[in-house]
Symmetry: C2
Subunit: 636 residues, 2 copies
């Protein structure tokens, strides 16, 4: 590990997390671990007195003093207190079980995804802040401000060249002097054109270094504000995609974009959604918008093209050609996003017209492209996307499930925000419901996961039949409404909306068609490769309501295949996961292009097998009962 010996940067590899981080020479090892998202015990807060942060240096050199917290024997073996060690070379560091702080600072979503996250990526954000101290110019050394800065910057970064943005140039001379020749620069890695200097600030501003990750869905948009110093989510939020007023699915959005001014209207709608979310994220985290340095967006191909003002017309005309798979980064401000003008927006690459960056982002974030195991990756959403494969090959497909799982097409459907009915059970005696809602608020509607849970429980208890029709049961909850029979989930007086919240046969019918499309999608994909469900070693469920779905209920209604339950892994929003990790890792920014490039797309829209499989799946759980051996329906 001598190749960097002339440099001032060091790579620290943490075991068993298998995470690398790049730091300055002399950096504190405890701080490096925190920055890398590696969790080490430190009950004394780094004072060196608790002795709980012991690590083993397997390779490399640290500067450290032995205290009575480490025996002489251990010290010889390489045990050191992380909080008392400064990094002097590239390191290989092992964190023994006793020092591991399991899951302590992981959010719920992060907990779910730890086991399936991409491995081996370095914590090495594409956008970095670097603090620089320069010697002021003298009559003997009056080289230009830019030469002076770049000389030191290229030395510190161990790179040959770096380019500077015109806007940064304008601030260069005054900022260097305002900071008394001590400044913080922000650099951006552009995969095509190398490193660019995008911002300069007086003094040391490294502590304020944030980015944004977004998943732009057809129905909902989810965002996270990230602390780039700690690889941590500071705040997250969700909102409807305001393009909804121009149509519920991607096809209607494309139609709308062809009207006069349509593309512009749709572009403005998504940008205003993003702008409001950014405000909320910033407010919640209590940071300054100007300290945001980067944005990563994962979205399906249509959403990306609309965001970037790229005419999506040809996405829906055979042979379904997107403008690009790999979209060049753009200045976020140029799209209308209300953020500093140095912020670059990267989009995760797409595969085809209907297999977008959201799915690539999920594959990227979960590391499926790095593993042996044959994995079925399912992203349940308005545009359902499926990938089958492993590190050697991947095949993808898209099927239009419709907006049902986001609450669309359902009379009282809504996204999973406060007041959405999520959990559902029934009193088998009188068929009275037991509901739980998001935030335990008064009910306002029903979200996708609530819908699946409700339909499954109603089916399991014989309230509806396998066609999704209400049986004739003695319950005040079941009544005939405008849309055929319906079940009253909550009476008007109990709700936020002063209306009975009901689930009608029309709603259930929409659900059946959506789940049939999803099931037919993966069935057809597996068929096409000559495999069967039993070959699948792992099913990764991503998607907007992934982590809230009840696996048993999803199998009961035939949305998921009837496989051993331990094969299912829920990773929550895979699209957002990949976007977030890309903001943390230059390596993943690069791998995104590789992953998109290795996927073969199977076009389902004109596929006969898919249509047959779809028709066979229009039943609860399926017309072929052998497909769901573990499910008994039609009553308890």
């Amino acid at each position: 590990m001598t190749e960097n010996s002339s440099c001032s940067i060091r790579t620290v590899h943490f075991e068993p997390d298998n995470i690398d981080i790049i730091v300055q020479n002399g950096a504190n090892l405890m701080e490096a671990a925190v920055a890398a998202g590696v969790h080490i015990n430190a009950s004394c807060g780094g004072a060196g007195v608790c002795g709980t942060c012991n690590v083993i240096i397997n390779n490399g050199m640290v500067e450290s003093v032995r205290t009575d917290k480490i025996s002489e024997k251990d010290y010889e073996k390489g045990v050191r207190q992380a909080c008392k060690s400064n990094i002097l070379s590239d390191l290989n560091v092992e964190i023994p079980a006793a020092s591991r702080l399991e899951k302590a600072i992981l959010s719920r979503e992060e907990m779910l995804s730890t086991s399936t996250i991409a491995v081996g990526w370095k914590y090495d954000p594409p956008v970095k802040k670097i603090y620089i101290e320069l010697s002021p110019p003298t009559p003997q050394d009056n080289s230009s401000d830019l030469s002076r800065l770049l000389k030191e910057l290229t030395r510190q970064m161990c790179i040959e060249s770096i380019s500077i943005e015109p806007n940064t140039m304008k601030k260069l001379a005054d900022t260097l002097r305002a900071g008394n020749w001590k400044v913080t620069v922000t650099t951006l890695l552009d995969l095509n054109s190398g490193i660019r200097l995008i911002k300069i600030e007086p003094g040391d501003t490294r502590a304020r270094h944030y980015s944004l990750a977004f998943d732009i869905g057809t129905t909902a948009v989810r965002g996270q504000l990230l602390d780039l110093n700690r690889a941590k989510v500071l705040s997250q939020n969700i909102d409807y995609n305001r393009q909804i007023s121009y149509g519920e699915d991607v096809i209607s959005r494309i139609s709308q974009s062809q009207k006069t001014g349509g593309l512009e209207r749709l572009q403005k709608a998504i940008v205003s959604t993003l702008n409001d979310l950014i405000k909320k994220l910033v407010d919640e985290a209590g940071i300054n918008t100007n300290d945001i340095c980067h944005m990563v967006v994962a979205a399906n191909t249509v959403m990306v093209q609309l965001l970037l003002s790229l005419n999506p017309k040809y996405l829906r005309l055979s042979p379904y050609v997107p403008t690009a798979n790999v979209f060049p980064p753009v200045v976020a401000r140029s799209l209308g996003i209300e953020i500093s003008d140095h912020v670059q927006l990267n989009t995760i690459p797409c595969v085809a017209s209907y297999v977008g960056g959201d799915i690539v982002s999920g594959i990227l974030g979960t590391g499926i492209f790095q593993r042996e195991a044959l994995t079925l990756y399912i992203d349940i959403g308005t545009n359902g996307e499926i990938v089958l494969g492993n590190k050697d090959w991947m095949i993808s497909a898209a099927c239009s499930a419709g907006p049902t799982f986001e609450g669309g097409g359902i009379k009282y459907g809504m996204i999973a925000t406060s007041g959405a009915i999520e959990g559902f059970d029934i009193d088998p005696e009188n068929y009275e419901p037991i509901i739980t809602t998001v935030d335990n608020a008064k009910p306002k509607g029903i979200c996708g996961s609530g819908l699946i849970n409700t339909a499954a429980i109603l089916l399991k208890n014989g309230v509806i039949d396998q066609k999704g029709k209400y049986n004739n049961l003695p319950s005040r909850r079941i009544r005939k409404g405008y849309n055929g029979y319906e079940y009253i989930l909550a009476y008007a007086a109990e709700t936020q909306i002063d209306k009975d919240i009901v689930l009608s046969e029309i709603d259930i019918d929409n659900l059946i068609r959506s789940k049939a499309a999803m099931y037919a999608g993966y069935y057809t994909l597996i068929q096409s490769t000559g495999k069967s469900f039993s070959d699948i070693q792992q099913v990764v469920i991503a998607g907007t309501f992934g982590s809230k779905i009840n696996i048993e209920n999803a199998i009961i209604i035939g949305l998921l295949p009837d496989l051993p339950r331990n094969k299912f892994i829920f990773i929550g929003n895979g699209s957002l996961l990949g976007a977030r990790l890309t903001s943390f890792s230059s390596e993943l920014l690069y791998q995104g292009q590789i992953v998109a490039g290795m996927m073969t797309n199977l076009e389902l829209s004109e596929n006969k097998e898919f249509m047959d499989n779809y028709l066979a799946a229009l039943f609860l759980p399926h017309t072929n009962a052998d497909e769901f051996p573990s499910i008994k329906t039609g009553g308890i």
Copy 2:
């Protein structure tokens, strides 16, 4: 020369011009020569019947048929008709004297500079147009529009990667289809970030491919519209730099820029100057502004920083630090320049606060950095700049000559536009003047070269003495005016301005101070290197009025050193020459950084020798007559 055998591009080297050009395989050799600016006779216009375009293929392969215009013996020696030969490999082509079309299409300025132009540069513009025919997508091959385009483009250009501008992306899908998958793309070489695709047009638009070269002087701005297909100047024009209303020299411009809104006002002033010039250039050439693809600007450091909105404050504060030497290219439109938004503006690199891109451009264009000969390069202008050196070393200096040579500080001074008195002689009997003016228009004022000629002739004829004072002579032309004695160059009735055009002692005094600053500048520079005037093998005179200056007269007044006259070469506007050649040659774009980097700057502003030399030069021609042995003054 087999390294490019798998590529479709070929390099053709022309002797004795020593010029390379890059062309498509199969291109016609005559057309390649025209594009390279190599002039071959072809009296039949390429029909192959005149036999005047014979060339010798010294190396490489062409496809050609022998006609009776070439003997069998000559054919075996490699003689071919250029108009009948297609290029099949890299070539080394010799143009025999009989086939050379000397100076035929060279403008006056180009004629002057042919002998001293940079050698060995390839005609290979940084901005290229490339015509591409793609196969349309099919269901079997529905890769994205961008992948399809870049695959073919990188193949044709023999490069690995290319990035695309967001604005080009927006037009990509529709343009490919509008052109029925036949399009012309414009690519830009960015030295820092590689090749970028900046424009796409349907069909074959290669014939319309233009660029702009500008020399932005403190007083005057000169522009040329260039045909990038023929390496030819289509139109040229000149105007005052509108910043003049904010001060005549760079110091007063810097002061002005420190006032509230000052920098913005100055930036707008130069941009409006450029915009008006662009309109004139485009109108004269009869082309469409949208077909301009590139701009190259050479200017002194202050002018560059004002153009790019870079605070010039620190340029005049010790230790005189510019914001940058190498300025990154910017989108011309972002500066307010009224031109298509894909046009990139490159500035020629600078050396120091007062040795700018104008001088680097001149050194670049004249190829002084490539030669053995010790050369003194003098750019006479408001900010006089001097370089001494050769291919091994270069030292530069700047001296503030003031605006005299551009007509500033002279009561009836003007730049060399229509009506400016340029030529001057005198009837020794009665001291009546013989004047010539630019465009032979009625006199309007006197330009820099006219001023030198007039002062020299007046001195030579004893009308003024060596201090620049009028002798008491019997002539109606000499009279006492408000500013001491003056000589009437033209009576009011003969002029365009209805005023007597006179040259006063104050005017002559200004001229003496300006020429003294220049002379002291090169004297000090030569002294500092331990050399003397006799070591100088070549004196290259650049500058705004370079090609119009009368060498003898300039020596008579002591503006130029008294060296053998054959050592002087006038290259006209060296700054514009370098900018133009840079627009024709990627190699020179790159070399500009090298040349700027190899110059050592000598600061004259606080140099005692310079002050002494200046005071000694405040005399016509000099206080030390030994410096000017060939000059006899004080009467015929």
